[in-house]
């Protein structure tokens, strides 16, 4: 069904119409990105197998390790696995949504960003969501199922589940803020790859509860580069070990980081010179 027909059928007004407009475009861009991968089935299979092996081996390693030691920073093996699954959930969903960011540098240095800017579409939306990743998409349902299974074993209360889900959304907002900051910096410095990879490496520190790190590293990865807020706090809220004050601080962090990254984007896009086109 064509976009115009969609909009006609939806019969929406104002902002709802705009959201629908962008949602349909996102579906189209996602479909195109998936088609590219589906044309290279062997590559798709090899990366999928690699990701699954990596996930299973790390999970097994954590299980052996914490079972043998009795606990990790006071958390049982089931709890540590839940931290790991929550980390993966945020990581995989953000990779699925924002994969296009990894291709942004080429867009800037080749001048192809011009082609995005002239379209009747928010360029930030196109740059962030332009290429959903099918490999991550395939891994989301089993990951959600595993998180649900382990979560249920921990017998959380209703409120803990609500906080957990809200903090997961907050984590995705922080992740989006980071990617916006990266693409903004890319316009100014032409550098993306290393910044993203360093962020990915730092994120991996959140594979396990941030409580294992010592200060000042723990402080830095919790409040300066908010890996802890993003990856550890949801699981902590779920386990009921995160106070209401820190939950509120997390939401404030999410809102502020998104606000400042958007300001940075507005500043950076004005600096774009289209030099290579």
């Amino acid at each position: 069904m064509k976009l115009k027909e969609f909009l006609k059928k939806a019969n929406l007004g104002g902002k709802a119409k705009l959201v629908w407009y962008y949602f349909v475009i996102w579906l189209k861009m996602g479909k195109n990105a998936f088609m590219v991968y589906l044309n290279q089935k062997k590559i798709l299979a090899i990366f999928l197998i690699g990701k699954i092996i990596r996930f299973v081996l790390f999970l097994t390693f954590l299980y052996f390790l914490v079972s043998g030691a009795g606990d990790l920073a006071g958390y049982t093996s089931d709890e540590v696995i839940f931290f790991f699954l929550s980390f993966n959930l945020v990581d995989v969903v953000s990779q699925f949504l924002f994969r296009e960011v990894y291709r942004f540098r080429t867009m800037v240095v080749s001048g192809d960003l011009d082609l995005v800017l002239v379209k009747p579409l928010n360029p930030l939306f196109r740059i962030l969501f332009g290429g959903a990743d099918i490999i991550d998409f395939i891994t989301i349902p089993p990951l959600v199922a595993a998180t649900f299974y382990y979560g249920a074993r921990l017998n959380p209360g209703f409120l803990e589940v609500v906080f957990y889900l809200a903090l997961l959304v907050n984590s995705l907002l922080i992740s989006a803020a980071f990617y916006i900051a990266v693409i903004s910096a890319a316009i100014v410095t032409y550098e993306v790859d290393h910044t993203v990879m360093i962020f990915r490496d730092l994120s991996r520190l959140g594979t396990v509860p941030v409580d294992i790190y010592k200060d000042p590293l723990r402080f830095v990865i919790t409040y300066i580069i908010p890996i802890g807020i993003m990856l550890s706090f949801p699981a902590k809220a779920f386990l009921g070990v995160l106070g209401i004050k820190l939950i509120l601080v997390s939401f404030l962090f999410g809102a502020f980081s998104l606000f400042f990254s958007l300001r940075f984007w507005e500043y950076a896009i004005k600096k774009y010179t289209s030099a290579s086109s």
């Binding site: 062997k42 030691a69 360093i198």
Partner: protein
């Protein structure tokens, strides 16, 4: 003649080193990433064995922290390699440029690898010292000269095994040019991460799994050299380890020779 050949590859290494220094930010960022990666492993074990008297999976605190600091060093020697780029050169048809030159392609990359390792190693010493001063970990200093000698020898063989492994993986691109990064991701990122001992000492795994893994080439990249340094290998285990390691070195060299010749027959220099 030998001297001239050596000089030729020395010059390749020297040029490669200059090339890496010409892009310092890339290199520094790569080193920063290495430090961040080691922090997870370091603090994970630090948290698990916080008591100096505690022994977990046969490791005391000083032994495990030495193992982790050792990973930094051995990684810089063994796993810092540029030979991964071979896959791209074959896929893009750039291999032709070397086939018409009086150079052995394997030794050409080995020379570049050694240059890269020298650069990485010089940085590792600085990082090692800084982390050591900041974290002040309990550390086990090996004083037995034989263990140190065997450690250096096993690292040297590990370097050769890893280079052969990268070349064999890259050879996939003779038949499937688009598969280069995929094959490297599966074999040299995922499997090496778990089976070489970079993430954890392999002897924490159940005996049955260890027996199988010890017959694969990957534990000889990081785990085996560090076990020798820590003096955790009995004479029998040491001999058996070196026999298996040298077997893999020979087997991989023969396999590469076989697969490379087959690959060159189907090589079409696409894109040239």
């Amino acid at each position: 003649m030998v001297r001239l050949t050596m000089y030729k590859y020395f010059q390749v290494g020297k040029t490669s080193l200059k090339q890496e220094i010409a892009y310092p930010i890339n290199f520094v960022m790569w080193r920063v990433r290495n430090i961040i990666q080691i922090l997870l492993v370091l603090f994970l074990w630090d948290s698990l064995i916080s008591d100096p008297r505690k022994v977990l999976f046969g490791y005391s605190r000083d032994m495990i922290l030495t193992y982790i600091f050792g990973i930094m060093l051995v990684r810089a020697f063994v796993l810092s390699s540029k030979s991964m780029d071979v896959a791209g050169e074959v896929a893009r048809g750039e291999l032709s440029n070397y086939l018409i030159r009086p150079v052995n392609y394997f030794f050409y990359w080995l020379s570049r690898d050694f240059a890269s390792k020298v650069l990485n190693l010089s940085f590792v010493f600085v990082e090692f010292s800084l982390l050591f001063l900041i974290l002040r970990p309990d550390f086990f200093f090996q004083t037995n000269i034989f263990y140190i000698g065997f450690f250096i020898f096993s690292v040297f063989i590990g370097i050769l095994i890893y280079t052969l492994f990268l070349f064999i993986t890259s050879s996939v691109t003779f038949w499937m040019p688009e598969m280069g990064w995929g094959a490297h991701f599966l074999l040299n990122v995922v499997l090496v991460e778990f089976l070489s001992g970079v993430l954890f000492p392999l002897d924490i795994l159940p005996q049955a799994i260890q027996k199988v893994i010890n017959f694969l080439p990957l534990p000889y990249l990081v785990y085996f050299p560090l076990q020798i340094y820590l003096g955790k290998q009995s004479t029998y285990e040491l001999v058996r380890g070196f026999v298996v390691e040298i077997f893999w070195l020979g087997a991989l060299a023969l396999f590469l020779n076989f697969i490379w010749k087959k690959g060159l027959k189907v090589y079409e220099s696409q894109g040239r």
